[in-house]
């Protein structure tokens, strides 16, 4: 997972990330790197901190200690001498613009049509000309198979279709890194496949992805690296052929035997 010396820097590197809610430590020093063009799947029981860690990466949760670099830039803070200073909101927004995020509950904007959902941020944040943004959005909607639904409002779409639009919306910002937070957990079983297909295409096209998921089959097939988390710590990581087929840690073994049963 660590890139060899002299290679280009990883898209994501997290160093000793700590996070607590009240008195509870949710993350206890997470170290993780994701190289360009690779797919990393984060597995682990619920409450292990996977989602919290994902939300720390784009500063939706404030990190209490540790550093997160995305595309070579420190997220949320700047180093001033020997301490970290929180960035102004405007700079945090600029950090986030490079990081796409797909939510468990889609979170499409219900008052905007499918096309308006996709062009809202490119036009409003990146200041792309509207016609360029529309052309890019149409290309993305075609690639997720929903170009013909461009003028519909989200409530007219199925869960799977909404999630595909949400992926297109995140891609419209031309992100350096895509975060997926259990993207298929809120879907009816027969709709899971269409979303995983889109994610598989995206991985094949070379997108750098970090995916929190319970879909072991997807992780086995698509991931370059699998990270198993438990109780706020990375327990085990490596290629899926090792971690999923031949887990070393008893916690990983116990989890996998439950999920695969």
């Amino acid at each position: 997972m660590m890139s060899p010396i002299g290679d280009k820097q990883p898209v994501l590197s997290a160093i000793g990330v700590w996070k607590h809610f009240g008195g509870t430590d949710v993350l206890k020093g997470i170290n993780l790197t994701v190289d360009e063009g690779t797919v990393t799947c984060l597995l682990g029981p619920s409450g292990s901190g996977k989602t919290t860690f994902l939300r720390c990466i784009n500063h939706l949760e404030v990190v209490n200690r540790g550093l997160i670099y995305v595309d070579g830039e420190l997220v949320g803070y700047r180093r001033v001498g020997s301490h970290l200073q929180e960035l102004p909101l405007k700079d945090i927004a600029r950090n986030r613009a490079k990081i796409g995020m797909v939510f468990q509950r889609f979170n499409l904007f219900p008052h905007l049509t499918v096309l308006e959902n996709v062009i809202e941020a490119p036009v409003g944040v990146l200041r792309e000309p509207r016609s360029d943004a529309i052309a890019h959005a149409q290309q993305l909607l075609r690639s997720v198979g929903l170009l013909d639904r461009s003028d519909e409002y989200p409530n007219r779409l199925s869960g799977g279709q909404q999630q595909r639009v949400a992926i297109a919306r995140a891609l419209a910002m031309r992100p350096k890194l895509m975060l997926f937070d259990e993207p298929t957990s809120a879907l009816d079983p027969e709709l899971v496949g269409e979303v995983l297909d889109v994610m598989r295409d995206l991985a094949r096209a070379g997108m750098t992805m970090l995916v929190v998921t319970h879909e072991i089959g997807f992780a086995r097939e698509v991931a370059d690296s699998v990270v198993f988390m438990d109780a706020g710590l990375v327990v085990e990581s490596g290629p899926p052929s090792e971690v999923l087929t031949n887990p070393k840690h008893p916690r990983t073994r116990a989890f996998l035997s439950k999920v695969l049963a």
């Binding site: 509950r105 219900p110 809202e120 409002y153 409530n155």
Partner: protein
């Protein structure tokens, strides 16, 4: 087991020879509802007769003043005062609501104190206070201490009855509108804000483009209520000698003593204005219902009247 069940099923199932069409369903008669309907109709008829035959009530006076220039001027003053006060109140309400929702304790306290004071005292008391502002502050001015840069005017020159009414109504209404706006903002799912922030939108843009348009669905119905309340509250400013609709009618009946006839004239125009507000509200709500299912209740009376009107055209 099947041997025991078979005769039981035979007993409960109707004989297949019965024709369902030979057994029509008869609706319940509701005799009490009909009786109540008749009683109300009789009472209403008696009321109409007693007014129509009352020698103390002169319909010609109503007709004489209903569309008279002086009354129509009062209507225009009432409407413009309402619209200006509500516009100012709404402009003040958004920052007040955002302050109450802000993470800053200072902003929270300021907004809460404002709402506490202006919602907690009668609007009539507030109006009389602004009317008598000159007793406490004989002049109003701006200046930088220690320099000669300053200007100042006499309070009574600025606080005309109209300005007093406008200030009093809008400051009071802002407190109510702020709570309505805050309710609308917190009704929008937190996931919407997160999705917008994750796309790199600033907080300001998130509120303006994502949260507020959705909050409007929750804001509009009570805001329509507030607009109607404000229109009727303008009647209070007649006591600080601003001649809106009620003040104008009072001026007339204090001379001709046709009090009830002129109150009927005023009521007609208040009803006409609130009806107009209802119609406008209906169309604005439809506009903000895009992308949401069933937010404006079914074919309303207004819609039916409007479609009928269109058909006749």
């Amino acid at each position: 087991m099947t041997g025991e069940l078979a005769p039981f099923a035979d007993e409960t199932l109707p004989a297949p020879s019965i024709d369902p069409e030979a057994l029509p369903v008869q609706a319940l008669g509701h005799p009490l509802r009909r009786a109540a309907g008749v009683i109300v109709l009789v009472v209403f008829a008696l009321l109409v007769v007693s007014i129509a035959t009352n020698k103390n009530f002169d319909f010609r006076v109503v007709g004489q003043f209903l569309f008279s220039e002086v009354i129509l001027e009062g209507v225009v003053r009432t409407l413009s005062l309402t619209i200006m006060a509500m516009t100012l109140a709404s402009l003040l309400a958004l920052p007040l609501a955002l302050s109450r929702l802000s993470e800053s304790r200072i902003l929270q306290s300021y907004a809460s104190a404002y709402i506490w004071i202006f919602r907690g005292t009668p609007v009539l008391v507030q109006l009389i206070f602004w009317f008598n502002l000159a007793l406490v502050f004989p002049s109003i001015g701006l200046g930088i201490p220690g320099t000669s840069l300053s200007f100042s005017v006499a309070t009574n020159d600025v606080m005309s009855p109209f300005v007093t009414a406008l200030v009093g109504l809008s400051l009071n209404e802002a407190a109510y509108m702020a709570e309505i706006v805050r309710g609308g903002l917190i009704s929008v799912d937190a996931g919407q804000t997160e999705a917008a922030l994750a796309l790199g939108m600033t907080e300001r843009r998130t509120v303006r483009r994502i949260v507020l348009p959705q909050a409007m669905r929750a804001i509009l119905p009570p805001a329509g209520n507030e607009l109607i309340t404000c229109l009727k509250t303008t009647a209070l400013v007649s006591i600080i000698s601003y001649h809106e609709l009620l003040g104008t009618t009072q001026g007339i009946y204090s001379v001709n003593y046709r009090t009830v006839e002129l109150l009927v004239v005023a009521s007609f125009w208040y009803l006409a204005c609130t009806t107009l507000i209802n119609v406008i509200q209906h169309f604005v709500e439809t506009r903000f219902a895009r992308g949401f299912v069933r937010i404006v209740p079914g074919p309303s009376l207004i819609r039916r009247v409007m479609t009928g009107w269109r058909l006749r055209q």
